[in-house]
Amino acid sequence: MNPSPSPPRDPDLLEEALGLGRGGSPPWRLAFVEDCVETSGAFVLHHFLKRALSTEGDGTVIFLGLAQPFSHYDRVLRKMGCNLSVQRNKNKLHFIDLLNLEFLGADEKGENDIEIGFMDLYNRILRYIEAIRSKDYNGGWTTIIIDDLSHLEIAAHGSVKHVLDFLQYCGSLTSEMDCSLVILNHEDIHSSDEALQMLSHLDYISDVLIKAETLSTGIAADVHGQMTVIIKDAPGGLIKKLHSFQFKVKENGVEFFYPGSRF
């Protein structure tokens, strides 16, 4: 199908940009992946998921699947060479199926319900982490992945306060419990005036921002979009490093390359 010889293997620019070595812990705690309608950033989550599960160190993942059912992730990751069902049975992956998550019933509107719902969710995550750390814990790194934040907002019926509180709690987990948090968020939803508060808050608490955008010329067969990785020296701090490159998503992984370097 592909007559041309495969190009020499590019260094993984995303890993480089994020300062990820072989295995071990990432040098950051809270990463936001921001995408838009034209370019989905879900592949970055798949990348993190695969990476966290495949390292030799006993990485574990807690995955909050709000956007897709487990079967979707299972099929996608299988094509990338990672069997989620097996990882789930080995307790390396804790998949929390939240596709049907709704804190409110269809008609009643109670602030309390949202709060209780978020507390339940947080406690579930906490229980998983404690379970991971209790039994023969050997310093493995835990990654919490949320796909995606906009669904959490819908489940909370638009209550920004509760969502931010929840993220605050999860953020505190990362410093107490040796784990990192990766959250997919749709940037274009929050870029209008009324929702800017959310975005600036998220911007503040994160220490890594990964933005996936389309090229201004639109999506192309060879370049699916461009990615900007912003590393801050501390949450809310100054920008330490900024990387920019282009990507092409494939079934078995993602190719990253510098603009113009492919041709």
């Binding site: 007559p3 309608v37 879900a42 897709q68 596709l99 906009s150 819908i154 019926h157 274009d188 929050h190």
Partner: protein
């Protein structure tokens, strides 16, 4: 006698099946499920149903994905989205798939009277098909043979819903000037969402519809269709209910994900704030928009061929990607919506006008459908 005939029928079927599997070698071709012509299997464990517009099926790489949510952004001034809805529902009727229709009209039943009827005989229609490559003609022939046999043996399945001369195909052409007869559309479940203050009722209706679907057993895939017209139109009375609406869409999306149903929602964009418009777009698996074109735009008429025949434009923003992370890259994302012979809806790529005023070629004749793997041939 009967067994020999069955054998021949099988033979005819396998012949058609083999021609289909040959076609499968082309990137985005898909295999029709042998027992149910309304459902087609595709890559990544996907199952498709037809949108009712053969060209649109081809553009989307097979049709609408079962378990996906299709959203159509309406034109503020023109009812072009209704063309898509009508064909979508008619196709469901032809394949005897359960259909649920929710509409802000006071009497949705009246809308069912406007559903187009499938093109009857194979003689005069689909002349453009003659230019399609031979592979496809082979398939047609195979199907026709199987169909002939079915006629001789009085297949029980061709009940009164189907005109005897309508071929059982994955997608039909629909004649917009003829409407489906009343007894055919009476199985469509209808619901008016006008003046219903709570979305709970619509939710219940949708989940009841899903639970009422026949279970699919083994190879015999069944499918259902939900069509919701103008979900956030002002007459629904959903003002100040933005969060309820997105919650409903999320709910619908989550319940159809695990079922054999495709839902199409059309919505007017002007009633949503920019932030919520983006939310709606993110929730869609397949996102389309339709736009009318002004009647007398001299500049455009000079620029594009066949401008006079165009009804409007259809834009493909997003194509459903279940079970895959690779985005679909289309060769073109804007298509002109035309009526062929004032009857059939066709989608054509926009063509810049040459000097002479020849009519543009149909999408089907202009090459294969682009899929994600199509691009790899350009990979160098």
């Amino acid at each position: 006698m009967a067994t020999a005939a069955d054998g021949r029928l099988q033979g005819a079927r396998s012949a058609s099946a083999s021609s289909f599997s040959r076609a499968r070698s082309s990137p985005s071709a898909v295999l029709p499920s042998p027992r149910n012509p309304g459902v087609k299997l595709g890559p990544n464990g996907a199952t498709f149903v037809s949108s009712g517009i053969p060209d649109l099926d081809r553009i989307l790489g097979g049709g609408f994905l079962l378990g996906s949510l299709v959203m159509v952004m309406e034109d503020a001034d023109a009812p072009h989205h209704l063309l898509l809805l009508r064909n979508f529902m008619s196709q469901g009727v032809v394949h005897r798939q359960p259909v649920l229709f929710a509409s802000p009209l006071r009497d949705p039943r009246a809308f069912l009277g406007t559903l187009p009827s499938p093109v009857s005989s194979s003689k005069e229609h689909r002349q453009r098909e003659t230019t399609v490559d031979h592979n496809q003609q082979d398939q047609e022939k195979g199907l026709r043979i199987a169909w002939q046999y079915k006629k001789y043996f009085g297949d029980q399945q061709s009940s009164q819903i189907h005109n005897r001369d309508v071929k059982q195909e994955f997608s039909n052409d629909f004649d917009l000037r003829k409407t489906l007869e009343r007894q055919h559309v009476q199985h469509i479940e209808i619901m008016s969402i006008q003046d219903i203050p709570h979305l709970t009722i619509l939710r219940d209706r949708c989940s009841n519809f899903l639970s009422g679907l026949p279970r699919s057993d083994g190879g015999n895939l069944s499918a259902g269709r939900i069509a919701i017209q103008s979900l956030c139109a002002p007459q629904c009375g959903y003002a100040e209910m933005d969060w309820d609406l997105v919650a409903f869409i999320r709910f619908l999306r989550s319940i159809i994900r695990s079922s054999n149903v495709v839902a199409v929602i059309t919505f007017p964009t002007s009633f949503l704030s920019p932030a919520f418009l983006k939310r709606w777009q993110h929730l869609a698996d397949t996102l389309l928009s339709v736009r009318a074109i002004p009647d007398e735009d001299k500049d455009m008429a000079k620029l594009l061929t066949g401008y006079q025949d165009m009804l409007g434009l259809l834009h493909v923003h997003k194509v459903a990607q279940n079970n895959s992370q690779v985005p679909t890259v289309l060769e073109a994302s804007t298509f002109s919506l035309k009526l062929q012979k004032r009857r059939y809806l066709v989608l054509e790529r926009l063509n810049q006008a040459p000097v002479e005023a020849s009519s543009g070629t149909s999408y089907s004749t202009s090459g294969t459908c682009s899929g994600p793997s199509k691009g790899s041939s350009l990979d160098f």
